[in-house]
Symmetry: C2
Subunit: 206 residues, 2 copies
């Protein structure tokens, strides 16, 4: 068995879990939760920057971060499944992943403002800066949501998986307020969820 170090609310861990399920690899991976508040948790040996997810192979080799893990899982599943091979399709998927990872990074920094700073130390201009990144990113995605066409691509690609995890994270940590502003993304997520049972299976209660 491979081991996945993860924490259920992590959008990056969710990306890996959904990809593993789509690739038919979920039953080869044991998920072991990380306690990020425990300074003795081995996650900091497995990944020195202490971030999840980390994949540990049978021989002890560790792979991180989520982008590397998903590409590795796609590779051992034969390749070209959730990380497309065709140049144009591949780099569009990787750009979409980078955009959604970037919006997630800004979202996480907003969550961390509350988690790691007392209220009187919050800096509104910093929070606004991150919120602007999120808003510009979601507006760009709303303007042209990626196509989910199973006749062309049997599985959603890693960019689309990341978009679903991003929207799920906005539901979990930001009370789903994105839904009123981005109706095409709401429809897109409904379609994704209908095609990908692992999306509902990895959902965490707020």
């Amino acid at each position: 068995m491979m081991i996945l170090r993860n924490s259920p609310p992590s959008p990056f861990g969710r990306k890996v879990r959904i990809a593993a399920d789509l690739l038919g690899l979920a039953d080869q991976i044991e998920v072991r939760e990380v306690d990020l508040n425990d300074p003795a948790d081995s996650i900091r040996v497995q990944n020195p920057v202490g971030k999840i997810p980390v994949l540990i192979l049978k021989d002890g080799t560790t792979y991180y971060d989520s982008r590397v893990i998903v590409e590795y899982l796609d590779h051992i599943a034969g390749g070209g499944h959730v990380v497309p091979r065709d140049t144009k399709v591949r780099f569009e998927a990787l750009r979409l992943q980078a955009l959604c990872d970037g919006i997630l990074d800004a979202s996480l920094l907003m969550v961390y403002e509350n988690r790691y700073r007392p209220p009187e130390m919050h800096v509104q201009s910093w929070l606004d800066r991150q919120a602007d990144k999120v808003a510009r990113g979601l507006a760009a995605l709303e303007a042209s949501p990626p196509k989910l066409d199973q006749a062309i691509e049997p599985l959603p690609n890693v960019g689309q998986i990341t978009l679903a995890c991003l929207l799920g994270y906005r539901d979990l940590r930001f009370a789903g307020t994105w839904r009123k502003d981005y109706p095409r993304l709401v429809a897109w997520l409904d379609q994704f969820a209908a095609q990908v049972p692992a999306f509902a299976e990895t959902k965490v209660a707020a």
Copy 2:
């Protein structure tokens, strides 16, 4: 000509510029500097999260972030040059890139604490948290620096390029204090710089 939106101090932009030079593509790329303080700068259209670097192809297609750009440049140079094809070598290089990107992210958050927050709003426990990530990461790299053996790999891989950019960034923004603690990484960077002229050519004065 392709266009690279960049800012000279960016370690991620430097990664792309070094890779482009190693791949023989530098003369096909015009670097256009971004003014991140100008809200009208087109960077926020080219990449909605407003981050550099962004590569713009002749047909207007944009690619980001640095990982995606480097893989794209490697691809158009024939593939397998700075992003290795062999599974074990490839995923070791990608993990090294992820580790160094992660140490860079923590380093940037420390720089941003000064840039975007007044001194009385600095939170020491947050800065310590980031500094711990940097220290654990550099210690892991010091324990086993990647091998730079041109007889095996004619070009350094993207993980090694990222490590060089990370150490260069610690020189630029943290006064090179890493050098006294990590002598094997100092020797490693000297060897990298001797093999890669673009490293010195992309150096920015502190």
